[in-house]
């Protein structure tokens, strides 16, 4: 008889961040599968009878009977579009949809429910939520009107940045300065995300929230506006204490978004901490690898119910 697992890890097999969490769970505690590239030995069966669903996942070595007391660690399964064969693309999409649907039909703890992540990714709502919870948020403009952008940049004394709202269908687009001397005609026809520049930065802060716990790393560079443009080795990463009011606000903000986990970006100056964005499925592996902060252990504790943070939710804020 196979060991009974209570945690369902949904991740691509080459997801080393998922490996970090798996390493903290204990092998018999979880099943792991990638619906985007499902092995034939992985068995997923769900049945609706007498008004209720029952579902069982067997990854070939452990079995999870989906239900109360189970938790899902939904990372990033292989995306259908990575398959060149159209049948495999269909299969990946079908499997991911089926698995997600079966899991969402049960009252489970999610870290995080991907449908809630999708609903929480919208930056305007994130900024508003952050402000409601007392975080300082830069003055922000969304516009496809070049003159509105010009007026905004002028209002901020030529100290503004432009960001990509999404990073889909393109190579990485970092945050860059936008100036009055720039040709802004390229703003016409595309809503651009413009924000006041936060100057005199002491460091960037990556704040990772796991339930009620907060782990923060200071990221220092040689003056880079966007640390994401640099390989991790080119930045200095150190754990730092999060001011209590910032930590509390971050926890409440993430909870407000319907999430258990998120990674928030801040700029820290002598004036304090300025919120930039919330990455609802943000990466944390490099922070843990370089600073030792125990994020994966915290996630594992939440998934196994080892902390008072563990919460069960029947569904998030996304529409069914």
């Amino acid at each position: 008889m196979r060991p009974h697992a209570r945690v369902i890890v949904v991740a691509a097999e080459d997801d080393f961040t998922a490996d970090l969490v798996a390493s903290r769970l204990g092998r018999d505690a979880f099943v792991r599968l990638d619906p985007g590239r499902l092995r034939e030995e992985v068995l997923v069966t769900g049945r609706f009878t007498a008004g209720a669903w029952t579902a069982v996942i067997d990854d070939g070595h452990r079995t999870a009977t989906v239900g109360p007391g189970c938790a899902v660690y939904w990372r990033k399964p292989t995306r259908p579009e990575t398959h060149t064969d159209p049948d495999q693309r269909w299969r990946a999409h079908e499997n991911t949809t089926a698995l997600l649907g079966l899991l969402r039909a049960h009252p489970l703890l999610w870290v995080n429910d991907p449908t809630v992540v999708d609903a929480s990714e919208h930056k305007p709502a994130q900024l508003a939520s952050a402000a409601r919870h007392g975080l300082r948020v830069p003055d922000t403009l969304f516009t496809c009107h070049p003159e509105a952008a010009r007026a905004f940049v002028a209002e901020h004394h030529d100290r503004a940045v432009v960001k990509a709202l999404t990073q889909r269908h393109t190579t990485f687009v970092p945050t860059t300065r936008i100036r009055l001397t720039d040709d802004l005609s390229g703003i016409a026809g595309t809503v651009h995300y413009v924000q006041a520049l936060v100057e005199d930065r002491l460091f960037d802060a990556r704040v990772t929230v796991v339930g009620d716990r907060v782990f923060t790393a200071a990221i220092r560079t040689n003056g880079a506006l966007d640390w994401r443009t640099l390989p991790p080795a080119a930045c200095d990463h150190r754990p730092v204490e999060t001011p209590a009011h910032i930590a509390a606000a971050c926890v409440e903000h993430v909870r407000d978004l319907g999430l258990v986990y998120a990674a928030l970006d801040f700029v820290v100056t002598a004036d304090g901490w300025t919120y930039l964005e919330t990455n609802c499925a943000g990466e944390f592996g490099w922070i843990e690898a370089l600073t030792g902060v125990p994020i994966s252990a915290a996630i594992a504790h939440v998934l196994t119910g080892d902390t008072p943070d563990a919460r069960h939710t029947t569904r998030g804020r996304a529409r069914m």
Binding site: V9, E13, D14, F16, T17, A18, D19, L20, A22, S23, R27, F30, V31, R32, R39, E41, D59, H61, K76, R79, P114, D118, E121, V162, K163, A164, T166, Q167, R168, T170, T171, F172, V173, P174, T176, D182, D183, S185, G186, I187, A188, G189, T190, H192, R228, T229, P231, P232, A233, A263, N279, C280, A281, G282, E283, F284, G285, W286, A289, L290
Partner: protein, 70 residues
């Protein structure tokens, strides 16, 4: 239709020779994680700086920002 301003500001991909090399590894379904040749977990056997490069916000090829939800 003119090219969006922000798309003219894409970052160059990181040079190939800056991509750190992982030790030989494979996914072990029994373990539920990637392991190296002697059976140790990859994330424990590899240099933390190497693990960091593969678990950061960018794909190694610079094609996709991994902080995206998908």
């Amino acid at each position: 239709m003119r090219r969006p301003l922000v798309l003219g500001r894409g970052a160059a991909a990181m040079p190939a020779d800056t991509t750190p090399v992982l030790p030989e590894y494979h996914y072990d379904p029994v373990v539920g994680a990637n392991v190296v040749a002697d059976g140790r977990l990859l994330v424990e056997a590899a240099d933390p700086a190497v693990v960091a490069n593969y678990t950061s916000t960018q794909d190694q090829g610079g094609v996709r920002r991994k902080d995206d939800p998908k």
